[in-house]
Amino acid sequence: MALLRIEYTKTGLLRYLGHLDMVRLFERGLRRGKVPLLFSQGFNPHPKIAFAAPLSVGYSSEAELVEIEVEEGWDDQQLETVFQTCFPAEVAYRRHRLVAQSKSLMSLMRLSDYQLTWSVPEASCQSAVEAIEGLPGLVSLTAIKKSKGKKDKEIELKPMVHQLKLLEKGQTTVRKTVTAAAAVEVAVCELRLFATLDAGSESNLKPDLLMAAIASSIGLEGEAPLRVHRTALYGEGGKALFEME
């Protein structure tokens, strides 16, 4: 048995694939590429493919991680070609390495870096910038977390935010904002942000939730679309997850 850890991207319109779609895509892509996958035992054998952390529908990424178990002795230098020929271009190979049997990626993961593009109505732009810059000074930032079948829960976000900074304030443009009911023209300014947030099975903060909390603190509700792009995954102590054993 050999365990391969692979870093890959998820970009373009394929950011709309859900986690289960990605699982299927990998299973089938690797089968197409004749990679000798190992299977779980039992009634319903599944190839051994384990992802670090599901990426929300609509988020793109340049640094996703997955581990696959293949037969010992398979020439893993073929992996890049397998991606080129059997995967869509939007799910591209970045690098891989052989790892010793270790803890699962999911249990090792602690943090993620994100690039955020936040489109804020021009009128609220200044207060949005202030809210972002003022975040470190806040004692508390809470959000209501809704989960299916459970009661809404108020959660404290601050300890989960390790970094949120404004990279750039883009030009103001007039844009069509579409909802199911109507399309309206609004002037928006684009704020480019960088965030490091808790991510993983222990504690997880989705950029959506954070930005919605900030938006509502300045009186915006659902009028500020957010584009999320993940750039790095880390383990304990901020070590690059790709390198960890």
């Binding site: 709309y16 859900g18 289960l20 779609d21 009634f43 199911a180």
Partner: protein
């Protein structure tokens, strides 16, 4: 550009990956290599449409031809429709992201009548006039095919031309014809030439006259040289016919998310209610070697983990045993599951199950179709209680404990006693389970008895028979609900109202398109989906347009009546259908025509095929 607009709206809709295309083995040719753009339009969701074998066959067939590009389009779910309308995004294809109006030919597949409102909606969303008469030289040609095209009349005002029968050859002939006259395209000239191709029906070249009582008086060609009867197309030899070596592999879960290989076309059993069994005659098999070769190729190009052997009655293939043996051997290492769409009630089915489902004990589905022996003789479903008892005993001994039994209510000449037989068979199954003693027998047992409402279909021996009224259906459903008290049996039944609307369209004529358009204008779409079907909307639409639903659904026709689809020639003789209707009345069964020809007429048209 549509693709840029998409980027801004897909966050707003459920299951956005339905609308992006880009799957493995989808085909996108550079613009300068495309002479004719054809959109394969499936009037239902992406998940339903992508499960349809015919789409995969035609898509790859057309795309392997130089100069032709086949694209795909599905019906957007109402949430997406709302967003598209507000953002001014026309319905587009998943390949070139062009609006439908920029296609040369748009081809709808007609799999079920309740998808017709989606056709209108897709045309309008795609920027194409809904009525054929309103389209000009710059609009695409709108064509349709599939099983419901065997009664094309309800869509005669909407579709420019119909393809009757199997589409492989004739679609290419049509697209090449289009290509040849595209430089000076003229709609009328195109339609005239197309009408000369066998299997093509151009409804605007014919006129219908009616009697005072509303029945048809005459159906006449208006154009010189168009055929009085349109004979269906069929592929004579499946081993020589095109079958794709790759399928588009969807990203999202679809209804049938697996590789499919077609074993044969047609069916020899002759069940009298079954339209597919009549219109796809005669039976044509693909050889075991070819099936195995195609399966290997498809699994390797798609990466699928499951293979389905599809046909109307898969286990009837004459080489089914060696085929399944070869495939299960082949698949053992690669952990590929084999699935069969239909099981018969006999010991052979059980043997096959043992072979292919060594480990998984999923639910099994059987279709006795009717509850009493009398009724099964009437519909010519040649299974008896003994078959059912034996098959159940064997599967219970092997450890299966979930069984689903399909029945129909409202079959011609049905009495309450026959309906009662449905409950009786359910009880019988639980009784058989009780008596089985086997180490593998599971303690739990769950039997689902499902009853759908019979819809009489054109070109079957029951094409003259009345459908039950809503009251009759409901009475029968009520009866069964009360009668089935057995705790191990779950009774489920279909909505009678949807079956009634389906029946109106199944045997409708040209006049009912007014009702269709009216219902669509009032918001009807996705009528096959319970959440969206509204019976009131349909009754109002028919009332407003002066259409009497009973005339189409519950009226008994005489053998001498001119039927709206009489100009469609499926190869099966009307005399044969009459004889089979008479046999039904007297409860006389007819043999499977594998055991000897029963003279349905198909071999007169295509001698040598059977």
């Amino acid at each position: 550009m549509i693709i840029e607009k998409l980027d801004a709206i897909l966050d707003l809709v459920e299951k956005p990956a339905r609308y992006i295309g880009m799957e493995m083995h989808s085909v996108i040719k550079p613009d300068n290599e495309v002479n004719v753009r054809f959109a394969f339009a499936f009037p239902d969701t992406y998940e339903v449409g992508m499960s349809h074998l015919g789409l995969h066959i035609l898509y790859q067939l057309i795309n392997k031809e130089a100069g032709l590009q086949c694209e795909r389009v599905f019906a957007p779910w109402p949430d997406m429709e709302a967003v598209m309308r507000s953002a001014d995004i026309p319905l587009y294809t998943l390949e070139s992201y062009r609006p439908l109006s920029e296609m040369d030919v748009v081809g709808f597949t007609l799999q079920y009548e309740l998808s017709y409102t989606n056709i209108l909606n897709m045309l309008e969303l795609g920027g194409i006039p809904v009525l054929s008469a309103d389209r000009g030289n710059h609009d695409p040609v709108v064509i349709a095919g599939g099983p419901c095209a065997f009664n094309p009349e309800p869509l005669a005002d909407i579709i420019d031309l119909f393809v009757i029968g199997e589409g492989e050859e004739v679609t290419l002939e049509l697209l090449r014809l289009y290509e040849s006259i595209k430089p000076n395209f003229d709609r009328n000239a195109f339609l005239k030439q197309a009408a000369q191709i066998e299997g093509i029906y151009v409804p605007s070249f014919y006129q219908v006259r009616y009697n005072e009582d509303g029945t048809l008086a005459a159906f006449e060609p208006l154009e010189p040289g168009v055929p009085a009867k349109i004979r269906k197309r069929l592929m004579k030899d499946l081993n020589q016919s095109y079958f794709p070596d790759k399928f588009i592999v969807p990203f999202i879960d679809t209804v049938h998310d697996r590789a499919m290989v077609e074993l044969f076309r047609g069916c020899t059993r002759g069940c009298r209610f079954c339209q597919a069994g009549m219109i796809y005659r005669p039976i044509r098999e693909r050889s075991a070697d070819e099936v195995v070769r195609l399966s290997e190729t498809l699994l390797s190009t798609t990466g699928y983990e499951e293979l389905s052997l599809t046909s109307l009655s898969t286990l009837d293939h004459s080489e089914i045993r060696p085929t399944i043996e070869a495939l299960s051997k082949l698949n053992e290492d690669a952990k590929i599951g084999l699935s069969l769409p239909s099981l018969r009630l006999d010991s052979f089915s059980v043997e096959v199950l043992k072979e292919i489902q060594k480990v998984r004990k999923t639910g099994l589905t059987f279709a006795p179709e009717a509850g009493s022996q009398r009724m099964r003789d009437i519909i010519n479903k040649n299974v008896d209680e003994q078959d059912l008892t034996e098959t159940m005993r064997q599967i219970f001994e092997l450890g299966w404990d979930k069984v689903k039994l399909y029945f129909m209510i409202g079959l011609p000449f049905e009495t309450m006693e026959d309906v009662d037989g449905i409950a009786g068979l359910g009880d019988l199954v639980t009784y058989v389970h009780k008596r089985v003693s086997s180490v593998h027998k599971s303690k739990g047992l769950s039997v689902t008895v499902s009853a759908s409402c019979f819809v009489p279909k054109p070109l079957t021996p029951f094409q003259w028979e009345p459908q039950d009224s809503l009251e009759q259906f409901k009475e029968k459903q009520r009866y069964l609900k009360q009668r089935i008290t057995n705790k191990k049996i779950k009774f489920s039944y279909h909505d009678a109202e949807t079956s009634r609307v389906e029946a109106v369209f199944a045997r409708g004529d040209r006049r009912i398109s007014k009702g269709l358009i009216e219902a669509w204008k009032n918001g009807a779409r996705f009528d096959g989906w319970n959440d969206y079907f509204s019976y009131e909307r349909w009754t109002e639409a028919f009332e407003k347009t002066g259409i009497d639903m009973d005339f189409y659904a519950t009226r008994k026709r005489s053998y001498s009546e001119l039927l709206p689809w009489d100009h469609i020639d499926a190869g099966v003789d009307k005399h044969f259908l009459v004889a089979e209707n008479e046999n039904a009345k007297s409860g006389t069964t007819t043999q499977d025509c594998r055991d000897g020809c029963i003279g349905c007429g198909v071999n007169v048209c295509w001698g040598g095929l059977c």
